[in-house]
Symmetry: C2
Amino acid sequence: MKKLINDPRAVVAESLEGFGMAHHDLVKVHADPAYVTRRDAPVSGKVSLVSGGGSGHEPLHSGYVGRGMLDAAVPGAVFTSPTPDQILPAITNTDSGAGVLLIVKNYTGDILNFETAAELAQAEGIDVKSVVVNDDVAVEDSLYTAGRRGVGGTVLVERIAGAAAERGDSLDAVTSLAERVNAGVRSMGVALSACTVPHAGEPSFDLAENEIELGVGIHGEPGRRRMPMAPADAITDQLLEPILSDLGAGSGERVLLFVNGMGGTPLSELYIVYRHAAKLLADRGLHVERSLVGNYITALEMQGASITVLKLDDEMIDLWDSPVHTAALRWGV
Amino acid sequence: MKKLINDPRAVVAESLEGFGMAHHDLVKVHADPAYVTRRDAPVSGKVSLVSGGGSGHEPLHSGYVGRGMLDAAVPGAVFTSPTPDQILPAITNTDSGAGVLLIVKNYTGDILNFETAAELAQAEGIDVKSVVVNDDVAVEDSLYTAGRRGVGGTVLVERIAGAAAERGDSLDAVTSLAERVNAGVRSMGVALSACTVPHAGEPSFDLAENEIELGVGIHGEPGRRRMPMAPADAITDQLLEPILSDLGAGSGERVLLFVNGMGGTPLSELYIVYRHAAKLLADRGLHVERSLVGNYITALEMQGASITVLKLDDEMIDLWDSPVHTAALRWGV
């Protein structure tokens, strides 16, 4: 496995440094401990949103730091939770006094370390709340998770809760909105190939020449089952069916359809998945009001995709459409 | 090679259909012959910009159709030039009477087919001009090219000329600006892996386990030479040196630095390349005024990257910053 890296142990630090150089108008990259904040943090009177997790899922989370989304992102080592000593300054240095909401993907290490940091920040008098994202319908428990994993829905929680914080909502209001988004979002993914953690140097799992992993996690952890390679439409059926039956969306409801690339899949293939998924949703009488197609939460260079469906209401649509200015998501500004 | 596709012969049509569904607010996708236009085309009084080429380089060109960039994109089969009967309606249906500029990457088939379409459109009384983009410093002639190939610089020509057309510049003015951008831009790429054309089913070339192709083309065609895998910084040196010596940019000049992924490379690795490239430019006394990092002109799922450097002046910076609203590039709106 060839990678455009120098020292495998320096991947996260060097990548963050480059990210900070390319987007110095937007973000400030802190080293030792590593975290990324909005250049203008703390924003007076605004609830701060802090997220983070293992690296290797870029643009998540650093790519979502900026107006209308996150105030800080905390990147761990590749596929490894960030530590409390990284998370704590991300909280304290973005809090304006209005409180901080932590957006945590449901992985055991993340839960533990964000919780520890939250307690330390609370001890300093900061009002901290948390929302745990657990949108992956593939498996109930997994290698790194008790309960469902947090995947693509995280991007949507960060955007919509981020928009609410930007318009001045209180910590309680932003938290309850984030929980509402999480309650109405479901995802499932598929891997066509494995991915290789730089310092490991070997693929994290093996797939045969004609095999795919249905319900794969964003670290390559096992999903529901392996199956022979199939046409894109058949795979899309198998991803969308569990999402819809779990979500329980009924005819006439409005949804956001998010087709996400795992990192190594061409955009053209994501649109082939989108095409069939949108048709299936229309067949069920659902209205696709908003959509997102691209590499937004990845697993290094894994080939594959995930589908995320979010039930929308008027408020969520307004917040989705409001201005956002981050490295990876931008409109209206 | 597993791909998220159905019928290999239907890849372009199905992908375009999905693209049109996801971005119906922005574009209109035409079938038989296939081309993509701005939803609001023709835009009264505005010079129309039309580009195109083989598919497989997404988001190029369809992802750049919209306000402040292209009026139409014409996708050929994968890695195959579009035909004159596709290009002609893209011209005639976007011309508002102000004339049409064709932005053509320098590949023999593209040149020929855009030229034929231009002559047919001129016979219908439409004012048509062309600019040929040839920014790749890697090789002088190549498998599909007499002279230098057109690569990453194409994105920058489309954006800056598109902004000039949007502000109401004449066909002559937009054409001369596009030529000025092309004259001041240079690129070079590297492949860490090959890519597989869907209907071919086999990789278009072979690279050994520890080998990379320096100066690779966006169809996987040969570059300058093969070399053993090296650290990202050393590869970046080898890409940037030929660009800078050919461009002849001197200390104090302002540039745009564009680090592009070939499709299968994680964003985190592109920022590692950006980091070193930006440092090298600073060492030469160049000012990186604007930057772009991501998958903007790809070669299917190829792993690799390209670097593009454009000399900037005040007018180009203003045009670059002006509002753009396409599927793949958006700001200010």
